[in-house]
């Protein structure tokens, strides 16, 4: 008689550590942590094969709170570390946690190259449009006019859009989520994990201390249905409390516009169907900004290609097959002579 080992149902708790979480109470990071732990469970991830890598900033404390392998590195450079990890052991499932300052300011260069190379990573960029850990300076995504300790008269920097940047860098998976929609975010992260190659997920995250309610206009519970559009591949891009608003392509302006079904002779047929493999559409969607447009969430673009780590190892495997790895012979290549 054999005893069946008791099969424990996996739960997000399996991915919790015994570390005291040190984010400010009410910080959006808590919700994201939940969403990630859910995604890990739902994807059947093994803690020992999972690595979280981060840079510096509030978001970058993340690895300490997930019971996998983790590396809290230096400011902006997480993509370099993650690339090295993935190159040495492509079987590892590597997540990268960064913020708008870490990933787009000091680490913008590295982000660009990790995306263009298509290193097989899940990159989560927590965008709170502020520097939290250094106490509230403006960031590369802060809106113009924002008053902070370093911009007492208001910021005059033009902000950048993380998703447009990612697409421009050549990312083959671009998605967006919001800290207030844990379930939605969790399923987006699941998609990111399934995607082989660099998956870029921008997450709107509320910093309750230094930039509270900056996303309120589209994250407020009451308004969310009218201000958020959750994309589904192959389905019409429709939103709104009444599910009547949608995106239409205006060929005269070469732009997307919000229309309402039933008004001005608009029918459902006028509404665009989301095609996540269409890069032009992806660019247009990423450019849409509230309040004129809904906040675009979900998988905006997914068009897989061979990952960098895969290509590197393909070459190595080919070379191993073609050549004999004889170290002593290597030292004797070229001209040699014998003294007797």
């Amino acid at each position: 008689m054999t005893t069946q080992p008791e099969i424990k149902k996996p739960s997000p708790k399996d991915f919790e550590t015994d570390q005291e979480v040190r984010w400010c109470p009410g910080c959006g990071d808590y919700a994201i942590l939940k969403a990630v732990q859910m995604a890990l469970v739902n994807s059947g991830s093994k803690p020992e094969n999972t690595v979280f890598v981060s840079g510096i900033g509030c978001s970058s404390r993340f690895p300490y709170y997930v019971s996998t392998y983790g590396f809290h590195t230096i400011h902006g450079r997480a993509p370099g570390f993650a690339t090295g990890i993935k190159l040495v052991n492509p079987d590892l499932d590597v997540w990268l946690v960064t913020g708008d300052g870490d990933g787009l300011s000091i680490g913008g260069n590295h982000m660009l190259h990790a995306l263009r190379r298509n290193v097989d990573l899940q990159i989560m960029l927590f965008n709170n449009e502020i520097y939290g850990l250094t106490k509230g300076q403006y960031s590369p995504t802060s809106r113009p006019g924002l008053k902070t300790p370093s911009t007492p008269l208001g910021s005059v920097d033009a902000p950048l859009s993380p998703c447009v940047f990612a697409l421009g860098a050549g990312a083959r998976f671009v998605a967006r989520g919001i800290d207030t929609s844990i379930k939605e975010l969790s399923s987006t992260l699941l998609r990111a994990r399934e995607h082989k190659g660099a998956s870029f997920v921008e997450i709107f995250q509320n910093c309750i201390v230094y930039n509270d309610k900056v996303f309120e206009e589209f994250t407020g519970k009451k308004r969310a249905k009218d201000t958020q559009l959750h994309l589904r591949h192959g389905e019409k891009m429709i939103f709104g409390k009444e599910v009547t608003k949608g995106l239409r392509f205006n060929p005269q302006k070469i732009a997307l516009e919000v229309v309402t079904v039933g008004e001005n002779a608009i029918t459902e047929d006028d509404i665009l169907v989301h095609d996540e493999q269409n890069r032009h559409l992806a660019f247009m969607l990423c450019e849409l900004e509230p309040p004129e447009f809904p906040a675009i969430c979900g998988v905006i673009y997914c068009h897989p290609a061979e990952s960098y780590d895969q290509s590197v190892h393909d070459q190595i495997d080919q070379a191993k097959q073609a050549g004999k790895a004889d170290f002593n012979a290597l030292l004797r290549t070229g001209r040699t002579w014998v003294v007797t």
Partner: protein, 639 residues
Amino acid sequence: MSRQTSPDVNGPDVNGPDRNGPDRKGNGVQELDSVVVRFAGDSGDGMQLTGTQFSVVTALEGSDLSTFPDFPAEIRAPVGTTFGVSAFQINFGSVEVSTAGDEPDVLVVMNPAALKVNISNLRKGGLIILDEGAFNAKNLKKAGYITNPLNDDSLSKFDVRRMDITRMTVEAVKQYGLGNKDSLRCKNMWTLGLLMWMFGRKRQPIIDSLTQKFAKVPEVARANVAALNAGHAFGETAEMSSNLRRYQINKYEESPGTYRTVNGNQSLAWGLLGGSRLAGLTLMLGSYPITPASPLLHILSGLKEFGVITFQAEDEIAAICSAIGASFAGGLGMTTSSGPGIALKTEAIGLAITTELPLIIVDIQRAGPSTGLPTKTEQSDLYQAVWGRNGDAPIVVLSVSNSTDGFEVGIEAVRLATKYMTPVMILSDGYIANASEQWKIPDINDYAPFPVKFHQDPEGFQPFLRDPDTLARVWAKPGTPGLMHRIGGIEKDYDSGHISYDAANHQRMTDVRKAKIDNIAGDIPLQDVSQGAPGGRLVVVGWGSTYGAIHQAVKRARKDGQDVAHVHLRHIWPLPRNLEELLTSYDTVIVAEMNVGQLNTLLRSQYLLNTVLMSKVSGQPFKIAEIAEEITRNLGDGK
């Protein structure tokens, strides 16, 4: 220069290539112990190739040799200018040769600019072979000559042989139908042919290599061979050979074995791969192109069949970060650069120190600060290596002494990095990187393996568990069940490995990181005396590429009966445990280095030692004579 170290030296010129010298044989062949030849021309004249080819045949015929390529930083400097001059120097002989030589005995110049740049270094009475055809008004002007040096007495101290190499080359290759430009490209082979005749070298290896090199353009191959033969024939013709010197350099007596020539980057790349194989780890190199370190990236990128992973990162910082990531994942991370790149990597080195991960950092030093002189050599990154980080951040620092030494140093670096879970920085420099020497090829099976044992046991695990002897922490790699852990740049608790802001704990962790590196002094060889014995009147202490020049200078002084020794450091940090005792056993300690006194400061600060600094920062290596003079000056009374 070995000529001066031969037993029958009576004066500086006796054994030199003076055609009336005592060694001149009846058949016009003069026997020499060693000779220094310098090829100089425009960047486009192919002087590096000529020098390399000449070195190969010289090695094949059994001379000891040392070479020094000296080229401009500009890839394609304007033709005919002094800053576009490229040179290649080779010192070879039947006696031990360990530098490229102080002063050339023979200078080959392909244009006026090459003459202008190189003449000041030529030995008095030295031989100049020059291409008269290139000494036209245009080239003279570009080189900044007001009058043609061939027509005044500015070269009267030398034996000048002018020949129209340009015309004779064009004639020799005419039948192959090359354009003017391609014909002129063969000038270097004509010159090489003449030199081969002068030194009695066989042409066949060169013919083989030209045929192979230009296999796709057979007419170019044939033209080059024709030029080579024409230069050789020119020497052979009766009228010329009565006029031009011929030299014979006998075979150097070497110990039995298989030999090759190797430069410092090659030997180091192979040593690093050898080390990673002895450790049983995958070598992962993260690097960014920089002069003079790029060849390490090129060489290792070509070794994929050994499973070597190379990553040309977007910048120096990403390069080292990828290497640290590689080590975190259980590979052996390495990064290669030069001074300015190392500066960029500094913060990441600190992370590798505090997370106690093995890491190899190679610094092929060049003249600084800032961009400095990218193609010129210097040893001015010692402070940066030993002290150049925020916080108390000790690492191991090793140094490469010559072109062949990289192999041993590479292996030693991997051994220490993996055994002690620490970054190790290797200091080499632009001179060693490019200079070639003969190498008795080792057998990797003669080296004891030091396989890494990754931690496996979840019982009582925390990432900063230490080996009580080495103080190294355990290495647990991702993928291992039960050992999940988080590490980072924030201070860790000594007992749990968790983040800790505790004051006493920081003291304890700082102390243990220091003790771990200090302890390594017990695991490295005692410092030896490379020439002479412990105790005595004077010692010259050096590190890195000054080895050859110090070695020859000390050898010369000892031959003169002077009580002088040479100590050369491989282990810069930690220092060998007997070094203080050894150095204090001499009356005078000269520290010779190509910076303004960095090792000097280190030794003084560690041992409160009174030293004499000998410093040079001209972008050129020490000359033997310069060190010899310093020795004489410090001995005062002579013997």
